[in-house]
Amino acid sequence: MKKDHGHVGKKYGMVIDLDKCTGCGTCMTACAAENNVSVRKDESDKERSITWIQLYQISNGKKFPDTRYSYFPRPCMHCDEDGRGGHHPSCVSVCVASATKLDPHTGIVSQIYTRCIGCRYCQAACPFDARYFNWWDAYFPKEKGLERYLSPDVSPRMRGVIEKCSFCHHRLMRAKNQAYAEGRREIEEHEYITACTEACPVQAITFGDLNNPKHKVHELIQLPTAFRLLERLNTKPKVYYLSTKDWVRRLADNYRPGEFKRLSKGS
């Protein structure tokens, strides 16, 4: 983490409480609406549909009536530099045209559509499948007039480029603008949250500066129930999950037999 004028830089991150998450999909809808994500006729083609935050349904694999489903909402993990080997996020280090970068001042991994040449190397590098390629041009047919709801905060993408969750970076810029208008340089915790955080009707998502002890996320990631996806790959995601359920936690990483440590005595 970079020191910036004597104080620790910001590191925006997200905590998602999986026990609270109900799999309703509001985060996905809010995200798509906020970020001008194109909707195509066939969104069931999950290999090609674009969902910056995606809900993965998981199951405990037991027989009826002991089956349980749960969900992993998966935004971009905004992986960090690795303290050990000095990796950049796996996608950043491979990008040929510097179209995706880690901003050391916010911890946010950017994706610049107008810079991207569409080689998809970053997609290959991302173990979370958080990166989406525009296989088609944005679908806003004139006769539908659907382009009328597009927000000017996020530029619609052309085909042939990668897009992904930006932690609603434009909301940070919006909050900063507001602060500047009020003569402040710094923004408050609540002024910058992502669209999914705001939309989640069960308040399962918390967003803030992981480095700032006053922010709620800072406290949440200390909990014993906090964990990250594929932690052992050492990509250092800035998205944390909370769950008390062992079967859910076990699905967060590839564990070898006997390796998984249970949190509770029950299943």
Binding site: H105, P152, Y180, A181
Partner: protein, 234 residues
Amino acid sequence: MEKPDEKLGEGFLSSLNDFVPPWLDLRSTLSTGFFLLAGFIAALVVGWILFPMILYSKQPQPINFNHAVHIDEESGIEGETETEKCLYCHEFREDGSFAGIPKIDKCIECHDDPESSIGETLEEKEFLQNYVAEEKEVSWFSYYRQPDCVYFSHIAHVNMGKQECFVCHGDHGKSEKIPVYQQNRLTGYSINIWGKRLSGWKTNTWDRMKMDDCAECHTKTGHEENNACFVCHK
């Protein structure tokens, strides 16, 4: 093949031959040189003159706007600094966003009576008649609109960075006549963003407003952190 002037040239050449070493084939060298040079010059003409002419479309603004009159010390908008005067019309909204070219409502704040003009120009009368009276928006062309992928926060530069307007906009604010709007047919960029000086040389900060120019200024003024991609891209 046998043209008279070529014969003439041949005579000239043969006379020249006396002055050059015998192993130099003057005739073929000169003719080669001639065609190479002809191609070379033709290319320069095409590249420097024809190409820009074709590349840019010209659209006159719907009506002239005299910036100079509006910020005139005596009769124009009041304000202590130039920036303040600019901001009178090109204002910030409450949320810190920049309103850009003012809407007709802003004009009507002063030009409230279509019947009586403030100045004496014909243009103003025309404006009052065609736009103020009908409360119709003027369809201005914006010289400085960045492409859609760019996020530019005026307030960060003007209020926080204390930048003067002319740094990016030059003396546009003092002009009496607004120039013809020139748009790149391929990119849709205004010539003011990139194209005024095709050579690429830049003498003024406002000659070009491409990414490198923004970054150059950020670096120079010690705001390198603002060269992070997402700061200006959306």
